[in-house]
Symmetry: C2
Subunit: 253 residues, 2 copies
């Protein structure tokens, strides 16, 4: 079983889109996938057609120790892909958990209790911050994918974020491997090319080979509670997320 957290403090870089699309592609390749929504905005939960206002068993209950991951998980519209959704209470949890001894290890303990046999991949969507919820994701994962847009602000944040990740790895999760994924790449936009070349020079051994380009089908698909692979199976976005799934399967850590 491989646990992959998808996190970046920078907002709007396609964390949720990557988690949803990659999960669907891995399920297409006969992998059993579990998505975990750690973002209080609950966009991953909304993507599969659930309503965070009315969810009864959610990841919040799991982090508080009231229920297990297995009993909080449920099916999604994609065959072979389950989800542990987020409810509206998750926003409160960020503050409630902070300061309790060992608060950052809650999710990891629950994943260990889940056992290895049920799922091949666990994908964790994180909020655009570095609080208790993201920390739980980074400590529970064995791999971190950092989606990043090729724009000036996102590039500035990336080096800083990687520094923080290294500190977390050193103190709390020595096995964590991180990779950077270029998303929303726009060939028409000359700043993309400049920033991408800078990243290739500065990060060449952690940059994933697959690049995800801009594709409006990716923007449309969540409105139909479908991943892009079901909404528009042959579009560029579907093909590129499938290539990402293959790249991750080939480098099975």
């Amino acid at each position: 079983m491989r646990t992959i957290a998808i996190s970046n403090q920078k907002g709007g870089v396609a964390k949720t889109t990557t988690c949803f699309s990659l999960g669907a592609c891995l399920a297409e390749m006969q992998q059993n996938v579990l998505l975990i929504d750690l973002d209080p905005q609950a966009h991953l939960t909304i993507s599969v057609g659930l309503n965070p206002e009315t969810i009864r068993r959610a990841v919040d209950d799991v982090l508080l120790g009231y229920t297990s991951l297995l009993s909080a998980s449920r099916e999604s519209p994609v065959q072979g892909m389950d989800i542990v959704p987020a409810s509206r209470m998750l926003a409160v949890l960020d503050k409630v958990l902070y300061g309790r001894p060992g608060y950052q290890f809650h999710l990891r303990k629950e994943l260990e209790a889940l056992g290895e046999g049920l799922y091949n991949f666990i994908l964790i969507d994180c909020p655009p911050s570095l609080g208790t919820l993201t920390l739980n994701g980074l400590v529970a994962a064995d791999m971190l994918i950092i989606p990043v847009q090729c724009d000036y602000y996102a590039a500035q944040s990336l080096y800083r974020f990687i520094k923080l990740v290294r500190q977390i790895r050193e103190k709390m999760n020595p096995r964590l491997v991180y990779r950077v994924l270029v998303t929303m790449y726009d060939r028409r936009n000359k700043i993309c090319k400049v920033i991408h070349e800078q990243m290739q020079r500065g990060l060449n051994n952690v940059l994933l080979n697959t690049i995800i380009e801009v594709d409006t089908k990716l923007r449309e698909s969540p409105a139909f509670s479908q991943p892009v692979t079901l909404y528009a199976p042959n579009t560029r976005g579907s093909r590129q997320y499938r290539a990402l799934a293959r790249e991750l399967m080939d480098n099975a850590g």
Copy 2:
């Protein structure tokens, strides 16, 4: 003096871009403007060419009561626009401040101490979360601008965010007026049109008339430490942010 917070829990919706561009347009109209960077990523600070790693007097010191807004403010590359920058320590402050009695009123008290005569507009850039820093911004402001992209996730978060803002207004800042600004509007993208029409029906009395469309010059300008009005004065982004500045001046609250 008018204090405007720019905030949305959803990431990547052009909060920083709006704060920087709007500030520059107001300065062009002979207004004295102060920008305040409440985001630990410090993108507004970076936009004016400052380095958050080496900043000595920053907004963090102001929130802790070590220094005043006036002594932490400094000039920016734009005539008539000053900035109170963020340093790397701001990330820690989010946790340190939480729980101290009255922690959400720190910025408001400092703004009251600043007095009315120095600046016409104060613009506050917030991080993509609803923690202690954003709360300080919402309590200190008399107006809130909520930038939003016309996409499915951002629209879902908007109604939820407005509900939370109303609760904050009721409990802590009854004078707060909020307005929604459509950003990164892409005419080529049919989902934009659909979502925008939905917003016009659901929010018509709080939606600003000005719309900001997609313009790559807005994406390029921060790399040159210039607002779009200096980098590309006649581009669509400059014209539309000037229209926003006029709309706000006309409705001077």
